[in-house]
Amino acid sequence: MEFSIYDLTSFTQWIDSSLRASISPGWAVAIEMIIIGLAILIFFALVGLFLVYAERKVCALMQNRLGPNRVGPAGMFQTVADLVKLLFVELVPIKNADKKLFNLAPFIVIIASIMAIGALPFAKGLHAIDLNIGVFYLMAVSSMGVIGVLLAGWSSNNKYSLIGAMRSGAQIVSYELSVGLALVTMVVLAGTMQLSEIIEAQRWGWFIFTGHIPAVIAFVIYIVAGTAETNRGPFDLAEAESELTAGYHTEYSGIKFALFFLAEYINMFIVAAIAATVFLGGWMPLHVYGWDGFNKVMDLIPPFFWFLGKSFGVVFIMMWLKWTFPRLRIDQLLTLEWKFLLPINIFNLLLMALLVLIGWHW
């Protein structure tokens, strides 16, 4: 069997066939699911640790500071130390809290992000499940996290938590619309909702280049709305520290708080990964039609690193937004969505449909 890091299809098929050769198909599927689940959880932990570290460094540099620099070289192991500390922190029981919902909430939030990441294509052949409604599925599960947020706010028996959760609900319900319409614009261009086909359609140019101006507008709207959907600054009203202590997770401590914290960063990564897949070509290297030498050089970088690089690039843009702009008021937030993003988005969708109809796209 020959494996290559440029095309992992043979590797995954080899695992599948060798499992099916030794045990019954039902057990083979079960074991494959366990392997994928473990791989995703490990990826979760690594990405979470890295993103927290990256955010602290990025924010420090933008504020003329140094950031964490004591634990390990350049503070690399700071987040590991923080995680170990969080694991040992006492879980404070809350009086008069709705115990069942209180304990359930962090899991709903984290399960929503696990479900979303399962459908993302990481590299050629490294794709847990390739749904033919991939984009639709991603939108559906990524908006499930708000149920966990609402439950956390409701069950905590705390006014700050409740206000934070309600704000988060209003915010996600409004911005979900913009995320959806921005993605629908790109689906119109691609002509399919299957993520693998969307990536294949970007072989000779990413959609942000081939989609002309509507794709750029959709990208900007997607980044803004995606930042709002992850409850990050400048749209972090749901946990506005100065007003609501910590918003919906005020009453959480220890590992339950860590789950919320992890979910926030993973959701940021998922939003960035969707943007990378739909607008920037996913794992597809940068190709220019006719430049064969250039394309060969670009193909030397494995697809997995293209995907990670693009995702972290978008994550960096989101961090840049967070550490530049002050937090919006709730009325400004809703004005931005309903009076600006939504009309522009609908107009943009019509423009894209027109472009596709007259055949200006490649």
Binding site: L61, R65, T324, F340
Partner: protein
């Protein structure tokens, strides 16, 4: 129509101002050498505090071990939390007059809030702020300091 044009204009104006803000933080991020953080325990040797830094209250003495404190007690009266105690003594000067001089200028560093009222109100500028700030000690009594050095005298010409 007019309001529609204003609406379109507001979008572009907003975008331009947002990009300006992004430009500032982007400049800080990509340009090295803009960090202002002092890596304190590592740079202890070279660390020099700025002139206006309020580390502790000191009484400057010159080479002849002379200070300017007349023992008037204005600093003690002005201190809002009683960090200063003046113990004065009286001596007879050469021309036979009785004169009040400072015996001990006691300064409780542990109670001081560094408001600067003593330094500001001293009529003879006898007090000043020093730049020493590493005040951690193992015993609380060591935070009580006597500012005038032993054997020091009042400078000539200070009333």
């Amino acid at each position: 129509m007019k309001s529609f044009i204003r609406y379109i204009k507001s979008i572009f104006d907003g975008l331009i101002t947002l990009l300006k803000g992004l430009g500032v933080t982007g400049k800080y991020f990509f340009k090295p050498g803009t960090t202002w953080t002092q890596q304190y325990p590592n740079n202890r040797r070279e660390l020099k505090m700025f002139d206006m830094f309020k580390g502790e209250v000191i009484m400057p003495h010159d080479e002849q071990n002379e200070h300017k404190c007349t023992g008037c007690g204005i600093c003690e009266i002005n201190c809002p939390n009683g960090s200063i105690e003046i113990i004065s003594a009286s001596i007879t000067s050469e021309d036979g007059k009785k004169q009040r001089i400072i015996d001990k200028h006691i300064y409780h560093l542990g109670m001081c809030t560094f408001c600067g009222l003593c330094v500001k109100t001293c009529p003879s500028q006898a007090l000043a702020f020093g730049q020493e700030f590493e005040h951690a000690v193992f015993d609380r009594t060591r935070l009580t300091k006597i500012l005038n050095q032993p054997g020091s005298k009042l400078k000539k010409g200070v009333a």
